[in-house]
């Protein structure tokens, strides 16, 4: 019997629900020795801003218990060089590409969406309103339903493609933000971005990150991410993309059962650069082994 591993995000159909998470997969090419990018549901590239950003001073990463903190500071080449250089290379990869964007003003989000509007080879936009590493912008948008809705509107108006709003977990009630962006026209929401954390080197009495605080990711945050996906999936009708500590096939299934239509693999790519491809294969096998014929059967099937 034929297996249907496809899932839909708005009009956009993915071959399977396995995506890679922004900032953890470079621009894709680094992983070509380990993964057939065309076999993935999609890849999400490192966040792009209107102007180039040098990012934060080092140290930028530190390991924690079953996780890591990062304060990359959204280093990127800026949208113009992204279009003229990176996209040329990315188109050759044959992957479904989601471009992750971030701004520190509504105008910047609008402008970004406008410049990317007719660049070919882009399947969808993911809007980062939640990155905790940059003091201005970022967090503010992600923690205020009104601002989150405004960003969603301006980006959606500029873009004919699916617009995925990426939510911050550092809020009292994530379902409020999710509902606000749904009403504002988001095609889907993706969650979670990193939790804000910190680590101190007691020998120097200095924060381990030059930026003092950073984003916590990895298996440590999975229970929080899964809970939020479950809550948001129960609160909105648009598709939910689950992110947060996903490393194994069991993790993928847990998130889909909780209500995720697709998932993104982040920090796990650092531990095993082949993991995303392995999960695509494992997912097919899982459906067979459990006598399922479609990926969609799994979505939200957890008993309440």
């Amino acid at each position: 019997m034929a297996l249907d591993t496809r899932v839909k995000i708005g009009e956009w159909q993915l071959e399977n629900p396995i995506m890679t998470a922004s900032g953890t997969f470079g621009y894709g090419e680094e992983f070509t020795p380990f993964v057939d990018l065309a076999a993935l549901g999609a890849i999400v590239v490192k966040g792009i801003s209107l102007h180039p950003r040098p990012g934060n001073p080092p140290p930028r990463v530190v390991e924690t218990a079953s996780g890591m903190l990062n304060a990359i500071g959204l280093q990127n080449v800026g949208v113009d060089r992204f279009i003229s250089e990176k996209m040329v290379m990315i188109r050759k990869l044959g992957a479904q590409v989601v471009v992750n964007i971030l701004g520190d003003s509504l105008d910047e989000y609008r402008e970004l969406a406008a410049r990317l509007a007719d660049v070919e080879g882009i399947a969808a936009l993911e809007v980062n309103i939640s990155c905790p590493n940059v003091k201005k912008g970022g967090v503010a948008f992600g923690t205020d339903p009104l601002m989150a809705a405004k960003v969603t509107e301006v980006v959606s108006r500029q873009s004919s493609r699916p617009v995925i709003i990426k939510l911050s977990p550092n809020v009292s009630d994530i379902t409020l933000i999710a509902r606000a962006v749904e009403e504002a026209g988001a095609t889907a929401v993706s969650l979670i971005n990193t939790l804000i954390g910190m680590a101190i080197d007691i020998r120097t009495a200095r924060p381990k990150l030059a930026n003092i605080i950073g984003g916590l990711s990895g298996p440590a945050i999975k229970p929080v991410a899964l809970r939020m996906v479950y809550q948001v999936a129960s609160a909105v009708k648009i598709p939910v993309i689950g992110i947060g500590g996903i490393s194994t096939l069991d993790d993928v299934i847990e998130f889909m059962m909780a209500g995720a239509t697709a998932v993104q693999i982040g920090t796990a790519n650092f531990v095993n650069p082949a993991v995303s491809g392995e999960l695509v294969a494992g997912f097919r096998q899982y459906l067979r082994d459990t006598g399922r014929t479609t990926a969609t059967e799994l979505i939200g099937c957890v008993q309440r």
């Binding site: 900032g23 953890t24 997969f25 470079g26 090419e29 680094e30 992983f31 070509t32 020795p33 380990f34 490192k46 180039p52 950003r53 040098p54 990012g55 001073p57 080092p58 140290p59 930028r60 990463v61 530190v62 390991e63 218990a65 079953s66 996780g67 890591m68 990062n70 990359i72 280093q75 990127n76 080449v77 800026g78 990895g218 298996p219 440590a220 490393s247 920090t267 790519n269 650092f270 531990v271 095993n272 650069p273 082949a274």
Partner: protein, 262 residues
């Protein structure tokens, strides 16, 4: 793009070679076969558990035929777990990674190592000797004291070795930089790896003499392959542009000294 592999190697040896310092030999045909001096690997240190989470970067100490050698010091739980690994067990390697040393013809090759910084220099010395057999080479090694000078015999087999220790327990009392001034008279190409202050001293000295100098850097790393942008060091002479930083795992770990320190 250069070849990189994810390979499960078989541990052939894992033994103590100095204070808290171990050497691991691994049969890993792919990684060993593609390795260049100055490159490194990311090794996974746990069994299926998520703590420690990330792979650990280690220099390629030697690569011969299908055998890769690592030299590591126990500084935390990852290296501690490595020291528990036994002969015959499998270990997952990602590599070879990064840009290694540039080996070009020179009137004299001088390798300067301090502490664990000797790790990448053995493979480098071996390759210089193999590729440029007619050229002269000297190896300068420094450490706080005698027992910090590691695997000396291996180096002595390749080229003349000069030693310096802070406490004078072996070789010249003092810093390896003083040794450099003392021993290397004519023009030379310098290759150095060790503690940052030592490398800065060496780079300084090379600059004064207008010698080319390659330095091998360390930073915290998450991916080791250019994906996380976590391993930056600031470049000299660039300020607020996106060129401000280089990435040790991809642009390095080996750099021209002038690119990092003016």
């Amino acid at each position: 793009m250069q070849l990189q592999y994810l390979e499960n190697g078989e541990i052939l040896e894992n033994a103590v070679v100095g204070p808290d310092t171990w050497r691991m030999q691994i049969r890993s045909p792919k990684v060993a076969g593609a390795a260049q001096p100055g490159q490194f690997i990311m090794v996974s240190v746990g069994h299926e558990t998520t703590d420690p989470l990330l792979r650990r970067p280690l220099s390629i100490h030697q690569a011969k035929d299908d055998v890769l050698t690592l030299l590591y010091r126990i500084v935390g739980k990852g290296t501690k777990l490595m020291s528990f690994m036994k002969k015959g067990e499998e270990v997952s390697l990602l590599g070879p990674l990064g840009k290694g040393f540039q080996i070009k013809s020179a009137s004299h090759h001088c390798l300067v190592g301090g502490g664990l910084g000797v790790a990448p220099l053995l493979f480098l010395a071996t390759e210089i000797k193999r590729r440029l057999p007619t050229e002269t080479m000297s190896i300068l090694l420094g450490g706080r004291s005698k027992n910090e000078l590691l695997v000396l015999n291996d180096f002595q087999k390749v080229a003349p070795v000069f030693l310096a220790t802070d406490d004078g327990s072996l070789g010249m009392p003092g810093l390896v930089t003083e040794l450099l001034v003392k021993e290397v008279k004519g023009p030379a190409t310098i290759y150095t790896c060790g503690p940052a202050p030592m490398m800065k001293g060496v780079a300084q000295c090379a600059r004064d003499k207008k010698w080319s100098c390659q330095v091998s850097l360390e930073t915290m790393m998450a991916c080791g392959m250019g994906a996380c942008l976590g391993c930056t060091v600031q470049r000299s002479g660039f300020d607020e542009s996106e060129k401000k930083y280089v990435h040790v795992c991809k642009d390095g770990p080996v750099f021209e000294a002038g690119e990092i320190w003016l």
